[in-house]
Amino acid sequence: MSFSISDSDIDRTALRKHLLNRSCGAFVSFEGWIRDHNDGREVLRLEYEVYRPLAVSEGERILAEALQRFEIADAACIHREGLLELGDTAVIAAAVAAHRDEAFKACRYIIDEVKHRLPIWKREHYGNGEAHWVNCQKTVEDAKAQS
């Protein structure tokens, strides 16, 4: 079981090797990639801000929950922080199990929880030079315009 925050390229080969297990027949992994659009706007790059102390402890808790809820042998997750370019991998989550059903369910559980519970914030940089924090009802720019 291993959760970490990384400020450089995610090493998916090392993560896979870490999970290799001869009693496991199924390996499922999810990668979140930086895509060039969101909500109809062109995205140039992304910035992740992470509050590491709580992100790591909460990430480890999510992996422990996955191990308890599903018949898996192991699980791992790495999340990036800092500035990311199009096509970069922002997050990878993976689970290994004897059988595929449990590996799929666990991998899905991990990435869903990671997206909802970790203190991580994403700022999108757009083609027109603007940048907004994602998931916030108001952006700083909106707030200033109203004040």
């Binding site: 979140g32 709580l54 909460e58 999340h79 203190p119 991580i120 914030w121 924090w133």
Partner: protein, 80 residues
């Protein structure tokens, strides 16, 4: 009155322009403190999905804050 430290992240930090505030407050719960900060700081606003941590533990908005607490105000998260 209690003496607390508030740490701000992402859009909240950008809204106020500082990442930490030391203040005297009469706020009873974390929710009260957040409301007080929104009143006193132009730009800071109520986010329904904001989270709060008290002394490094994710907490409930109705949790009571004590003298000396460090309160982390998290805007809506967006990992992955």
């Amino acid at each position: 009155m209690k003496q607390v430290t508030v740490r701000l992240f992402a859009v909240f930090r950008d809204a106020i322009g500082v990442n930490e505030i030391d203040l005297q407050t009469g706020a009873h719960t974390a929710k009260d403190l957040y409301a007080e900060l929104c009143r006193d700081h132009r730009g800071l606003h109520h986010e329904p999905n904001a989270l709060v941590a008290i002394n490094e533990t994710i907490s409930d908005w109705n949790d009571v804050i004590d003298d000396g607490d460090v309160i982390l105000l998290f805007p809506p998260v967006a990992g992955g």
